[in-house]
Amino acid sequence: MSNPFRKDFPILDSTFNNKPLVYLDNAATSQKPDSVIKAVEDYYRKQNANPYRGLYQLSVAATDAYEEARSITAEFINAKSSKEIIFTRNSTEALNLIAYSYGRSVLKAGDEIVIPISEHHSNILPWQQLVKEKGAVLSYLYLDKNGYLLEEDIENKITERTKIVSIAHVSNVLGTVYPIEKIIQKAHSVGAVVIVDTAQGIPHYPVDVKQWDVDFLVFSGHKMLAPMGIGVLYGKEELLDNMPPFLTGGEMIEYVYEQEATFAPLPNKFEAGTPNVGGAVGLAEAIRYINQVGYDTIQNIEEELRDHALKELSQIPDVVVYGETKAGRDRCGVISFNVEGVHPHDTSSILDADGIAIRAGHHCAQPLMNYMDVAATCRASFYFYNTIEDIDTFIHSLKKVRRWLGYGN
């Protein structure tokens, strides 16, 4: 294995049924490098206290660790200020925060929210709930057969009635990289705000909120080497400043009287209760690790893996790949496929017996499954610690699937 990063990920040495683990479910969650695991451990061994309120040194250390994580995150996505970074549990909570706080205060009956049909449930359900409450409309952008957004939908569905456009940076099913800047320009031209869900993007591609001029951005730490339980909401300061709080309670207040309260300035206004400092410290270390590896290296490795996998998959008869099947820049290493005549669950179970972890199901994207008219797919998704050998093991095992189920070969 020539991949120099594997050794940093202790779990990749696991075996299952005496077969080495081949972890190809990175779109679900990434594994964690030693340095991230250790950073969290270190926090609990040396700095743990409730941040903000304590005046003693340990609490100051915890506050510093937490606020440093916020600055590192702000810098990572090139936010104007660390006040624009709100820590949440995950992308899902961040999207709900926007829907509850921004959505409920601006949306009116007849207004429209526009999302692609390929969105993750977390970027669908909060909008369904919101439009139902407000008598607004949830409208969809559809895809061509290669997974790209239909030009005419971008042109015709984002209109003066549109108040919010919410879109994934990268599809978690098809790996499609969406034309974010174009969408943002179009949406801004009609006065809509844009939310980018980069849960599947930022693990692989750099994000610059200023260059994009995006209004809100969300992502999950756990998909980019950080622990579970920490996620990020970025919002432009002017927007966040004018939004009502979402969760209320400790830390997010200024003055509290019996019948009313005033709220703290950003970012605390949106962080009620004791924050997950350990998680934030883990996220900061994950960002350091990614910066050290470098997005160029990450992309070089992943493009090689993706191209090799697409080529090999194309050579297995009875395997169909969804979305873009050609190697290319706007296609991430997330590959959905099916083996003809074999249910994805059976494919996954058979691969699992060889130690290979892929995902099978609807990938939290049932509307896309319906749109593509498939019940479910298999999905293999890569990260920079995967190797060509991983892909070969996967392909080798995949070739046996139909035989297991009694199809002649």
Binding site: H343, H345, S349, I350, A353, G361, H362, A375, A376, G406
Partner: protein
């Protein structure tokens, strides 16, 4: 590990499963079973006379395990009374949950015993029990049973 066993045994049934995969004539009961987390769906048809399952068949989509398990079940329940069918289902659940391990007690499950090792694949247990749950939930509450 059970996977080889499961898939080879299951295989036979799967290949043969077309045998039971069809609507039946004059069904008296139609039962729907779904597994939202997989998208598996089956429709089970029974023709009952005097509390006895005269004929059965199923349609729908799903994985090899759910299809084969349903097909095996149909072979087993044909000609059985509602009580006998419920007992078969309970025995099947007991086997899957490792609550019934006595081989003698399992004997009535005949070919379905091949699915015993599914308990080593907890993620697939739902598939194996789909048809059986559909049957039990349906006939235990259905007014057209008799």
């Amino acid at each position: 590990m059970g996977i080889e066993q499961i898939y080879t045994e299951v295989l036979q049934e799967h290949l043969n499963s077309k045998r039971n995969k069809h609507p039946i004539t004059n069904p008296t009961v139609r039962l729907n079973g779904v597994n939202p987390s997989c998208g598996d769906e089956i429709e089970l048809e029974l023709r009952m006379t005097d509390g006895v399952i005269e004929d059965a068949g199923y349609t729908g989509r799903g994985c090899a395990i759910s299809q084969a398990s349903t097909s095996i079940m149909i072979d087993l329940i044909k000609g059985k009374s509602v009580e006998e069918a419920v007992k078969l289902a309970d025995t099947f659940f007991g086997m899957i949950k490792h609550e019934i391990t006595d081989e003698e007690k399992l004997e009535i499950l005949e070919d379905a015993i091949a699915l015993k090792d599914i308990s080593h694949m907890p993620a697939r247990v739902k598939c194996a029990v789909l048809g059986w749950h559909t049957l039990k939930d349906g006939i235990a509450t259905n007014p057209n049973n008799g």
